[in-house]
């Protein structure tokens, strides 16, 4: 029965939409219990659900909605006042129905839950004893138009008394087939002119709320979008091709192809747009339930619900938005007493604002709650070892607040069961960044917190900067772009400074870490000169860095094509696109690139204190030896485990038992190459070798590193990472650094030497 399946699908969609609307309306109704239009709309939705579930054979759903319908019809007719108890019961009805519909969707049947107590509850509120049943609840007046009745308009316009309308309606009910206007004119209660005028008003109001729409399968829209994407690419190629042509006819054809494609692209994008109100609709209910659960009074205000966004983006921001609002209620808005004491209105306000600006959608979510205490964030950051006290002293508020986005970072003293341990703000940020958006946070103690989210209108076609590095072209999504810096052609390389092995550029007094795109991607040509470099200043994770490229080409609208599965692991790439000349360019994933290059902190993984090992317990300050292993890995070990630093000439290294050894103070000391142990990219080997000597169970072991960088004195709390012989990673000197478990490494290295062919440390 394919036809019936289709109808059931339609039923699921319609019912869910109806329930969402009822959710909102019910919450609104609690504030304006006399709003007849709201009541009528709620009634109609429940009524429709009852009717359709009855015909489609979902008896449980039918029985509960029937009970709800009876209750609502009494409220609608003014025979029962709206009370908080009724509102709560109706909300339970909505939740119950939603679960039943969920079951229909997954099992094809609504059964699986007992609805009798809910039915009982609704009936007792209706004032009907269960034994009498529904047949007694016949309603003579229902079915009358609820809104914009002619009579109502006449009363509103002052032409008529309520009483006269009732009389005319009664006459209609008793069989007078004339229209209400005719009856009224007939009895002389109103002049014909007033009726004509009122009819005009009625028509205006009604036509305003009727629009013709059709439902289209999303998969179909996706397909059309894809095709338009292809068309855009073909257009780009044609336009480029036309540049070499002198044929006027061809040129004008290309010109119109160009225009039509642009319009088509815009049109298709619009088709996929949904108003953000679709997501916001669910929030009033959430706010109500949560505020009640927290014992707070919270109101939600929305502005710009009609702002439109691509459907995929709407989906992607749904959860982050919900989370932000939850957080605002749970941690932001104070309890009514606290608010009263602070001289604020008892009811807290969460306001949501959405608007378009420069090809992006801006979402502002702010609360008038307690705000975030920067001092507490600082204390926490210090305790967590995210920043040293000197760094914190120097850092501005703007730099401190984003720390709340670090995983596991929560300043709430009380762990509540609602938003938990503050886990989630990191997820919010990650999810928003995943769709090419940014999050900014501002807060003032005592005044509230606000989050500014900026997201692209669509994901499929994005403006990008095209750059060339080592003859290859790459596209960089413009959302991450901050500025472009051109290095002086004659002294380009001289403007790049080298700070302990890392390249930086002094940009208006700040040191900008640099990443060479070609080197990072492993396509470096060592013979190339630094004479003609450009710096693309990019932003990722709230930090800026400079990307060194050979050439900056142009900006272009690119169509994002996902990479094949086998290329998904390349963290540096977000996809591929076809350029105007038909060649393929890779799209850079700025965030991934920054993390690969260790120019922004990589501490996005879990930082839950309880899972940390031994070192975490010694949160006191400690001295760390910082060194470089292989080509570019930064590592550290406690200085206390270092016996000496030695330089050993290569010619002194001997081989014994499959192990490099050296004679050292009358002993034979095994040498462990750290880069090799961790399978890192090897550095060009230096002579003499840099060796860190460590005493392992009374025996000296030499660790060969590529460079000893520094000794730092700071609190280091490593975050767990997967690798063996690793205590984890931590941020030292604002760079991600691996903390080596030196004893384990020594043990493993020596054991592996005893079993020649075994791999040293599994990946």
């Amino acid at each position: 029965m394919g036809e019936l399946d289709e109808i059931i699908k339609e039923f699921l969609v319609e019912s869910n939409e109806g329930l969402d609307q009822v959710d909102c309306d019910l919450v609104a109704l609690e504030k304006q219990p006399d709003d007849k239009e709201l009541i009528a709309r709620i009634f109609r939705a429940v009524h429709t659900l009852k009717g359709t579930s009855g015909i489609l054979g979902f008896p449980l759903l039918e029985s509960v909605t029937h009970a709800g319908e009876s209750l609502l019809s009494r409220i609608r007719d003014g025979r029962l006042p709206m009370t908080p108890a009724i509102a709560s019961a109706l909300l339970s009805l909505i939740d119950f129905s939603r679960r039943a519909i969920q079951r229909v969707e997954s099992n094809g049947s609504d059964s699986g839950e007992d609805g009798s107590s809910l039915v009982e509850q609704l009936r007792s509120l209706t004032g009907v004893s269960p034994s009498i049943g529904a047949s007694a609840d016949v309603d003579l007046y229902s079915g009358q138009p609820e809104t914009h009745r002619l009579g109502e308009i006449l009363v509103e316009d002052g032409h008529l008394s309520q009483q006269a309308v009732h009389e005319a309606l009664a006459q209609q009910q008793s069989g007078d087939s004339r229209k209400i206007g005719e009856i009224l004119v007939g009895t002389g209660t109103v002049v014909p002119k007033a009726v004509v005028q009122a009819l005009g008003t009625q028509a205006d109001v009604r036509s305003a709320s009727s629009a013709s729409t059709i439902r289209v399968d999303v998969a179909m829209l996706d397909r059309v979008m894809n095709l338009v994407g292809e068309l855009v690419l073909a257009r780009n190629r044609t336009v480029q091709f036309a540049a070499t042509s002198a044929d006027a006819g061809f040129l004008s054809t290309v010109q119109s192809l160009n225009l039509i494609t642009a319009e088509l692209q815009e049109g298709v994008m619009k088709m996929r747009m949904l108003a953000i109100g679709n997501v916001w609709n669910k929030l009033p209910r959430l706010v109500r339930d949560m505020a009640q659960a927290c014992g707070k009074q919270v109101r939600i205000e929305v502005d710009g619900s009609e702002t439109e966004l691509d459907k995929t983006i709407i989906e992607a921001i749904k959860d982050p938005l919900t989370h932000i609002v939850r957080n605002a209620i749970d941690h932001g808005i104070e309890s009514p007493e606290e608010r009263r004491n602070a001289g604020k209105p008892v009811e807290g306000v969460i306001s949501l604002r959405a608007f378009h600006e420069g090809g992006y959608v801006n979402l502002n979510i702010s609360d008038d709650g307690g705000g975030i205490d920067v001092e507490r964030v600082k204390a926490k950051a210090l305790a967590r070892g995210l920043m040293s006290s000197e760094q914190l002293a120097r850092a501005s508020e703007r730099e401190i607040l984003p720390l709340v986005f670090v995983p596991g970072f929560s300043t709430a003293e009380k762990v509540t069961n609602i938003s938990g341990r503050g886990v989630g703000m990191d997820v919010v940020k990650t999810n928003i960044e995943k769709i090419g958006g940014t999050v900014d946070i501002h807060s003032k103690v005592g005044q509230g917190t606000s989050l500014q989210i900026k997201i692209p209108l669509t994901l499929a076609i994005v403006p990008a900067l095209v750059v060339t590095s080592h003859g290859e072209r790459f596209a960089i999504p413009q959302v991450s772009l901050v500025e472009l810096v051109r290095l002086d052609a004659t002294s380009g390389s001289k403007q790049i400074e080298n700070v302990r092995g890392a390249e930086v550029y002094r940009l208006r007094g700040n040191l900008l870490p640099l990443v060479r795109l070609d080197r990072q991607l492993g396509v470096e040509d060592r013979s190339a000169t630094d004479d003609n470099l450009q710096i693309v200043v990019l932003q990722a994770d709230g930090r800026q860095f400079g990307l060194l490229v050979d050439e900056i080409n142009d900006t272009e609208e690119i169509v994002v094509k996902p990479l094949g599965k086998h290329l998904k692991n390349g963290a540096c790439f977000a996809g591929a696109t076809t350029m105007g000349d038909g060649r393929v360019a890779l799209i850079l994933d700025v965030r991934g690139l920054a993390q690969e290059a260790h120019v922004v902190s990589e501490n996005q993984r879990a930082m839950h204190g309880e899972s940390l090992s031994a070192v975490a317990n010694k949160e006191d300050r400690q001295q760390w030896l910082l060194f470089k292993a292989g080509a570019n890995a930064r590592m550290a070990m406690p200085l206390s485990s270092v016996q000496r630093l030695e330089e050993i000439r290569k010619s002194d290294v001997e081989r014994s038992d499959n192990q490099d050894v050296v004679q050292y103070r009358g002993q034979i000391m095994p040498l462990v190459n750290v880069a090799e142990s961790f399978r890192l990219e090897q550095a060009t080997s230096s002579d003499p070798l840099e060796v860190i000597v460590h005493a392992h169970r009374g025996q000296s072991v030499g660790f060969v590193v590529s460079e000893v960088l520094d000794v730092v004195d700071q609190t280091v709390v490593p975050e767990l990472s997967g690798g063996r012989a690793m205590l984890g990673t931590a941020v030292i000197q604002q760079r991600v650094t691996d903390i080596v478990d030196i004893d384990q490494l020594a043990e493993m290295a020596l054991k592996a030497a005893a079993q020649p062919s075994a791999a040293l440390i599994g990946a």
């Binding site: 009717g51 529904a134 016949v138 009358q144 809104t147 914009h148 229209k179 709320s209």
Partner: protein
Amino acid sequence: MRVLIVDDSSTMRSLLRMHMKRAGFEVVEAKDGVEALSILPQAGALDLMLLDWNMPNMSGLEVLTSVRAQQEYDSMRIMMVTTEIEIGGVSAALKLGANEYLMKPFSADAVLSKLEILGLKVA
């Protein structure tokens, strides 16, 4: 034979459409009374209108009253689609010019027998 289905619920329209098509009807639809009234003049000859009772903007009764006030649709039968909650109004609807009523929830048989009563059954 042609029928105009007027209902604000898309599920309900689909259900009625299914039944009416099976009964051999050509189907025209409107999602509320306002749309129904605007469609009527251009919809061509219609044998039947299935009219929901409870709709936004304009109730079934209002649509009924308005249609019956226009003589050109006299030959079109109107069947109100109701639930027991509106049953009190059915007699009024019949007096206002409705020809028959169909009570929700309905079965395929119920639809067919109502069509028979209206003399619209297609063999």
